[in-house]
């Protein structure tokens, strides 16, 4: 199954339906777009990455990637409208941790983002969050959702697998 087919299957899953067998553990959350939740999300990410079997170092960068994505969902996606929800889902299997962060905004086109490593951008105060996510996660896709809203899917493989 390709990644995008897998995503399609995930989306069609009804709330309350059992998770696909391939995932051993699944945890998801959703909250109003208030930056106050960021630290809680960070704590949760730390617990889940530990559960998945990552060491402190790997965990730090995964949690940073989640933090950046959730901050973007709250600020850029939902424009800090507390009535709009941010969703975060963790799926653990033997080989990897799959994380999705979704918001109710209109998304953005990744190809139009300025490269933060261009010498003209080095001193810009912003524009490094998406870059961090790409740097620290193994596989990252940004996509609009068919039912509306926007989602980033990121995967981190456990080191002991090849």
């Amino acid at each position: 199954m390709s990644d995008s087919e897998q995503r399609e299957t995930d989306r069609q899953e009804l709330p309350g339906k059992p998770a696909g067998k391939e995932f051993q553990k699944e945890f998801e959350m959703s909250f109003g777009s208030n930056i106050e939740f960021l630290d809680l999300v960070q704590e949760i990410s730390e617990s889940i990455t530990r559960m998945a079997g990552f060491d402190d170092e790997a965990s730090h960068w995964i949690c940073l990637s989640v933090r950046e994505s959730v901050a973007n969902a709250i600020q850029h996606g939902n424009q800090q409208d507390e009535g709009k929800k941010v969703g975060v889902r963790f799926r653990i299997d033997r080989r990897r941790l799959l994380i999705t962060v979704s918001d109710q905004g209109c998304g953005f086109d990744e190809s139009s983002l300025p490269d933060p490593l261009d010498s003209g951008n080095l001193l810009k105060p912003s524009g490094r969050g998406v870059f961090f996510v790409h740097t620290f996660m193994d596989d990252v896709t940004y996509h609009n959702l068919p039912q509306g809203g926007f989602e980033v899917t990121m995967e981190k493989r456990l080191k002991h697998t090849t």
């Binding site: 960021l38 933090r67 950046e68 490593l117 080095l122 001193l123 490094r128 969050g129 870059f131 961090f132």
Partner: protein, 112 residues
């Protein structure tokens, strides 16, 4: 997060404890740096030994502070980067921008 400032041979050293991340933490750095510059203290050395976490907003705040101090004719340098902070500055190519030091007296001397 807390910032203690001390003066060593005309250089203001900011000992930062905690994290430099989106929200209050970044705002505190911004306001402290701006306050110092306003009061004429323009040779600034940030000691990041006890900074556990930095996110992209935190990196952005370091960059803004750097530019602001330079614009006012001063200099902002960094001391005692943790492995993780160094890694973030390396991948963002900001190690080419910031002067960084592992030794406090060498750092202070560099402002002379």
């Amino acid at each position: 997060m807390s910032i203690d400032t001390r003066n060593v041979h005309g250089v203001t050293i900011l000992d930062i404890q905690g994290r430099i991340t989106i929200g209050e933490e970044s705002a505190l750095i911004r306001n402290t740096i701006r306050g110092l510059v306003k009061s004429g203290q323009k040779n600034l050395l940030m000691n990041l030994a006890d900074v556990r976490t930095v996110d992209s907003t935190g990196i952005g705040e370091l960059v803004s502070s750097y530019s602001h101090v330079a614009d006012q004719g001063g200099a902002l340098k960094l001391l005692h980067l943790t492995k993780r902070t160094r890694e973030l500055l390396a991948i963002t190519k900001l190690l080419t921008v910031f002067d960084t030091f592992e030794d406090e007296s060498q750092a202070v001397a560099s402002f002379a």
